[in-house]
């Protein structure tokens, strides 16, 4: 093997070996990225569903105060509500005033209070509840749902009595057929659109944030632990050291991003098997271009972070310098999400960071527009080269050694 390449490879191997020997690293670069999307898209909705089911099966206790209505009672009886009938407290201005019932609801002696009065042709009601209690909210929702249904029955009855058709009267303009079939985009294209709204964001933020720790560890950390001088005394050029370290950070970061994408694909496959979303339809060319975009982005970010970390005198200072990098990524990334891709001006594809994010968005929609591809490819290679040159400059600094003591 070429000696220069062997040196780079040995440095990279050593860095990776040293880095993965720390269990916290395994947690950060393997477990968390792998589980993030499945937890977010599968486990979290399942948890929400089980909580909702538990609430649905919960019997709530409600006090019905004031006038009785048999139609409403019939509807409410289908909703697992235990009623006690009481009089409305005297001296209240309106039905929403808790008055003497305040403490009963607050102490959760009762989940909610339904107050109902009939004034000639109109019914008035209020529901007293405690918004911070799940069971009280559930009781209120069940009462409101029942009242809505009862109100519909009342309105329909009135319309029929007046000789009118409730459907024609209340819904005179309506959609014909199934609105889902009216969308000419395929399920795969719709899935691509949905993913394009957050995948670029996730990849950008994750690449930037997961490269921070190894960048600091392999530069300022090495300096602080006193291992840098021995490393610099080896017959390896500073450029070989940089490339070796860059390879190690890029490898670790790609593992993290790769596992995160694997987790995402698993979650999408799971959701697709439940017909919740479709599998995105992306051409091989678009996938290859997307990988290229991510690779160039990683080259730029990792080189930039390594350079900043090398600039720092200590791990603490490196943390201070690199912390804002994630913020620097988040803002343009969020900004990019709202840019309209239809008829987008080409200059957007030359702006650093924004260009890669927009490229990923377009490619996830399977739009390969030659002009855009050329612009983002050339501009991002130029930015990555500048970042690499900046990193090389930092690695060649003499005070890198002079300040070791």
């Amino acid at each position: 093997m070429n000696n220069g390449r062997n040196i780079v490879l040995q440095i990279a191997k050593k860095e990776v070996l040293e880095f993965v020997r720390d269990w916290r690293t395994i947690l950060a670069i393997i477990i968390i990225p792998l589980l993030l999307f499945p937890v977010l898209f599968i486990a979290f909705p399942l948890l929400l569903q089980s909580e909702a089911d538990e609430l649905d099966s919960l019997a709530v206790n409600v006090s019905w105060q004031g006038d009785y209505n048999s139609e409403l009672n019939d509807i409410l009886n289908q909703s697992e509500i235990n009623f006690v009938f009481e009089d409305i407290p005297s001296g209240i201005d309106n039905l929403s005033t808790p008055s003497t019932d305040l403490e009963r609801v607050r102490n959760q002696d009762i989940d909610a209070i339904l107050r109902l009065t009939n004034d000639s042709n109109q019914w008035e009601f209020a529901v007293l509840y405690l918004s911070t209690s799940e069971s009280s909210n559930e009781a209120r929702n069940r009462i409101l749902d029942s009242i809505n249904e009862w109100e519909s029955q009342v309105v329909n009855g009135t319309l029929i009595k007046a000789g009118l058709d409730p459907n024609e009267t209340l819904d005179p303009i309506k959609w014909d057929g199934d609105w889902e079939y009216a969308d000419t985009a395929t399920k795969g294209e719709q899935a691509g659109l949905a993913l394009s709204l957050f995948i670029p964001l996730v990849i950008a933020i994750w690449t930037a944030s997961s490269a921070i720790q190894p960048s600091i560890d392999m530069t300022a950390g090495e300096r602080e632990r006193g291992t840098l001088e021995a490393l610099l005394s080896l017959p390896a050029s500073r450029l070989q050291l940089l490339v070796g370290k860059w390879t190690a950070v890029a490898f670790i970061t790609s593992i993290g991003v790769g596992l995160q994408i694997a987790g995402l694909l698993f979650a999408i496959t799971y959701l697709a098997s439940n017909s919740i979303i479709g599998v995105p339809e992306i051409s091989v060319l678009a996938i290859m271009l997307m990988f290229t975009a991510v690779l160039i982005f990683a080259i730029m970010i990792v080189a930039f972070e390594l350079a900043l970390a090398m600039k720092a005198q200590s791990v603490k200072e490196a943390g201070t310098l690199l912390g804002p990098v994630v913020i620097m990524i988040i803002f343009p990334a969020l900004f990019t999400q709202v840019i309209n891709l239809d008829g987008i001006e080409s200059f957007w594809f030359a702006i650093p960071l924004v260009n890669i994010l927009l490229a990923m968005r377009e490619l996830l929609l399977d739009r390969v527009i030659t002009e855009h591809v050329i612009i983002w490819l050339i501009s991002s290679i130029a930015y990555a080269t500048l970042a690499a040159l900046y990193a090389a400059k930092q690695f060649k600094r003499e005070d890198l050694v002079a300040s070791i003591s």
């Binding site: 440095i11 070996l17 040293e18 006193g226 001088e229 021995a230 005394s233 017959p235 005198q313 201070t320």
Partner: protein
């Protein structure tokens, strides 16, 4: 008979860090089979000279030649043990040694044979498979020595190799250096302990305030200064006040400097300078 060609020739070397002249006009010639002691106080310039010899630093002026090549082109012939030892805590002792050897382009089997040979002499062969994290200072120093020897260097640079070591470990290191000399090896040994230098070295170079004040066998130094022992000779040669360590003037990080100015209005260093 021809004189042997020098192993290392340092000619008119000066080294500046910004405004600070760490070394000034240094001339030294080193032949094979010698143990040379670099003796001087803190901040004298010993470490800078070692870093120049190891090729980590480039001289501002002058030249350092290893045989007939520039030192920077002959780094594979030099073995270095920095003061900090520079062992990776999450790697085993052998992994540390193997990493360095591979960078030198040495086969694992060759470096293992050399490592094992020296590990037996230092009685640490059982420690080679252990992670270096829990190693004592003495053990770290010994492993760093093995690492520097594994590629079979022509010249070994030791920066304060016995600093912080217990008596037994320091003795072991000195003994190994003696053995290396007996086998024809060349060692440059930086220390600020005169007794140790006298015990281990054939030749002592006294460095003070970035200049070479004396260079010769301990007896020659005593004779030339008309003193009775090496300590008195050293005191005689370094009479002028020692300058502060060059890294005491080290630039504070720009961010921390700005931040401390922002918080306090002035930095502690500035206060110190006024005193």
């Amino acid at each position: 008979m021809d004189e042997p060609k020098p192993l290392l020739t340092i000619s008119a070397v000066s080294k500046k860090f910004g405004d600070i002249e760490a070394l000034s006009n240094v001339d030294v010639v080193i032949n094979s089979g010698q143990v040379i002691g670099l003796v001087g106080g803190n901040g004298a310039g010993k470490t800078t000279l070692l870093r120049l010899i190891s090729g980590v630093l480039e001289p501002t002026t002058g030249s350092l030649m290893f045989k007939e090549k520039k030192v920077s082109k002959s780094r594979e012939r030099i073995g270095v043990v920095p003061e900090s030892t520079g062992l990776y805590a999450r790697l085993t002792a052998w992994e540390n040694i193997r990493f360095h050897s591979r960078i030198y382009g040495i086969e694992d089997s060759v470096s293992w044979a050399r490592t094992y040979h020296f590990a037996k002499r230092l009685d640490i062969k059982d420690e080679l498979s252990r992670h270096t994290k829990g190693f004592s200072r003495g053990m770290r120093q010994k492993i760093a020595l093995l690492r520097a020897l594994a590629h079979g260097p022509d010249i070994l640079l030791l920066d304060e190799p016995t600093a912080g070591l217990d008596v037994t470990s320091a003795r072991t290191v000195r003994h190994l250096v003696g053995q290396l000399r007996d086998e024809g090896g060349t060692v440059i040994y930086s220390t600020h302990h005169l007794a140790e230098a006298e015990q281990v070295c054939d030749r002592i170079i006294i460095v003070h305030n970035g200049t070479i004040r004396a260079d010769g066998h301990p007896d020659e130094l005593i004779k030339s200064t008309m003193t009775t022992n090496l300590e008195e000779a050293y005191v005689e040669l370094t009479k002028d006040k020692a300058r502060p360590r060059s890294d005491a003037k080290e630039k504070e990080g720009r961010i921390s400097k700005w931040w401390s100015k922002f918080l306090t209005g002035t930095t502690p260093k500035e206060v110190g300078e006024d005193e």
